[in-house]
């Protein structure tokens, strides 16, 4: 759980958001590529779509940050409570046979984590620019969560034997 966040300026916050959106986008791109390599085209397409969406978010945040000098923050100095960027899909829960449903589940959790992050800032900040911006961002994430939930509803649930592969692992070297 996030128990202490030290974000004291708009620039700080924007830097965090930019990092979050960028990493989320890059993570979706990487996962799309992983799915490509493993010939899972359906899920690859979904991850690619998510990456495109995140790319738009990155664009938006860059617009927002125009004219503002963002501090450079080392990857481990960001204020994520957990050590991975909140909005980035957790790579360890992927599977080469995963279905779009699984992917959306991971995306949902990612968006929820993003929501939680901004929510914490809103709760802990005094009224002011930071508070307002954080609220805005939280609302956006709330919206994203809803979108993905809806998307999940429309997506077919995976079969029970979704991860069954009759072939044994292949020797490489």
């Amino acid at each position: 759980m996030i128990d202490r966040i030290k974000i004291n300026s708009v620039a700080d916050l924007l830097a965090h958001v930019k990092a979050m959106e960028t990493e989320a986008m890059e993570r979706y791109q990487d996962l799309a590529e992983q799915m490509d390599v493993h010939h899972n085209s359906e899920t690859a397409a979904l991850f690619r779509k998510m990456a495109d969406v995140e790319a738009l978010h990155v664009e938006k945040i860059l617009e927002r940050a125009e004219g503002i000098e963002l501090p450079h923050i080392a990857p481990w100095e960001y204020q994520w409570g957990d050590s991975d960027t909140p909005e980035a899909v957790s790579a360890e829960h992927t599977h080469y046979l995963m279905t779009p449903y699984h992917a959306l589940q991971l995306a949902l959790r990612a968006e929820q984590r993003a929501f939680d992050f901004f929510d914490q800032i809103v709760r802990r900040s005094e009224p002011g620019v930071i508070h307002e911006l954080a609220s805005e961002l939280r609302d956006e994430e709330f919206h994203h969560v809803g979108l993905i939930e809806a998307w999940l509803e429309k997506t077919g649930k995976p079969d029970e034997d979704w991860d069954e592969d009759p072939d044994p692992p292949a020797l490489q070297e």
């Binding site: 590529e33 450079h72 080392a74 990857p75 050590s83 991975d84 790579a91 360890e92 020797l171």
Partner: protein, 279 residues
């Protein structure tokens, strides 16, 4: 107190990734280590052409091709020797060595001892998944004694190798443990390891989703080390000997001078040298 900001760097992690797509199983911890290495190199603002990544054989040894630095994908178990020859002749390069627990502690065991002993300035990152993944799931030196497999039914019955203790006893100057489920923490450890002079050893617990699905539980077990890193070798020895394998962070930093060859003082005359044979 504002968020800590770091010196700006002209590089992003992406700048270090090559066009080659990794073939690791989705869910493999090595993806995160690859990303952590890129982040570390970016933070240190190292030009890709001044970095060399040396590896052996195994899934994690494929890393050099996935980065656009210089690299050498050598034979099984000998990456530390190759890296030593390179770094001693080219001290200007930043040399990283990557590989797995099999490559590093089985066939590579002897070279591991001597690399720690020699303390040449380089960083050795071992992605430890306690299995031989590339050859489809045999026990490795760090595998638990009761882990069942086709090659060793019922388990090897052997006490696992303890690489951190061996590293300490052999003279490594920086010892840390990371976890692939902690990408930014691992990036930090690798950055510190590269910056630390001498032989830096980072063991990254990196679960194998295909052959060790039980390692999914690791994220529930790992924890940041409850104590600060120590410079006291005796204390470090006691801690590491009683360590359960899941304490993360920098565990030991030494003060040994890194080994380097004497400065070259330019070409001297061969004729002078040949005089020794004249009768």
């Amino acid at each position: 107190m504002s968020v800590k900001s770091a010196p700006a760097t002209p590089y992003t992690a992406r700048d270090y990734k090559s066009d080659v797509k990794p073939v690791w199983c989705p869910g493999c911890g090595d993806y995160t280590v690859l990303s952590s290495i890129s982040k570390a190199l970016a933070e240190l603002a190292l030009p890709p052409e001044d970095v060399a990544i040396i590896s052996g054989i195994g899934c994690s040894s494929r890393i050099p091709a996935y980065l656009n630095t210089y690299g050498f994908h050598g034979v099984h178990g000998r990456s530390l020797a190759l890296a030593t020859g390179l770094k001693l002749s080219r001290p200007d390069l930043t040399v990283l060595v990557t590989g797995g627990d099999g490559d590093g502690f089985s066939i590579g065991g002897n070279h591991f001892l001597h690399a720690c002993r020699r303390n040449v300035d380089m960083t050795y990152i071992v992605m430890d998944n306690r299995v031989y993944g590339m050859t489809k799931g045999q026990p490795s030196p760090t595998t638990e004694p009761d882990w069942d497999s086709a090659l060793s039914p019922g388990g090897t019955g052997l006490r696992p190798f303890n690489p951190l203790v061996i590293a300490l006893a052999s003279g490594a100057n920086f010892i840390a443990r990371g976890f692939s489920g902690d990408p930014n923490g691992t990036a930090k450890l690798i950055t510190e390891a590269i910056q630390a002079p001498g032989f830096s050893f980072v063991e990254v617990l990196s679960p194998c989703v295909t052959f060790r699905p039980d390692q999914r539980d690791w994220k529930k077990i790992v924890r940041p080390s409850p104590v600060d890193p120590t410079e006291d070798i005796g204390r470090a020895a006691r801690r590491l000997m009683t360590d359960d394998g899941f304490n993360l962070g920098v565990l030991y930093t030494g003060k040994r001078e890194p080994f380097r060859l004497a400065e070259h003082h330019g070409e001297s005359d061969m004729t002078g040298l040949e005089q020794q044979f004249v009768i």
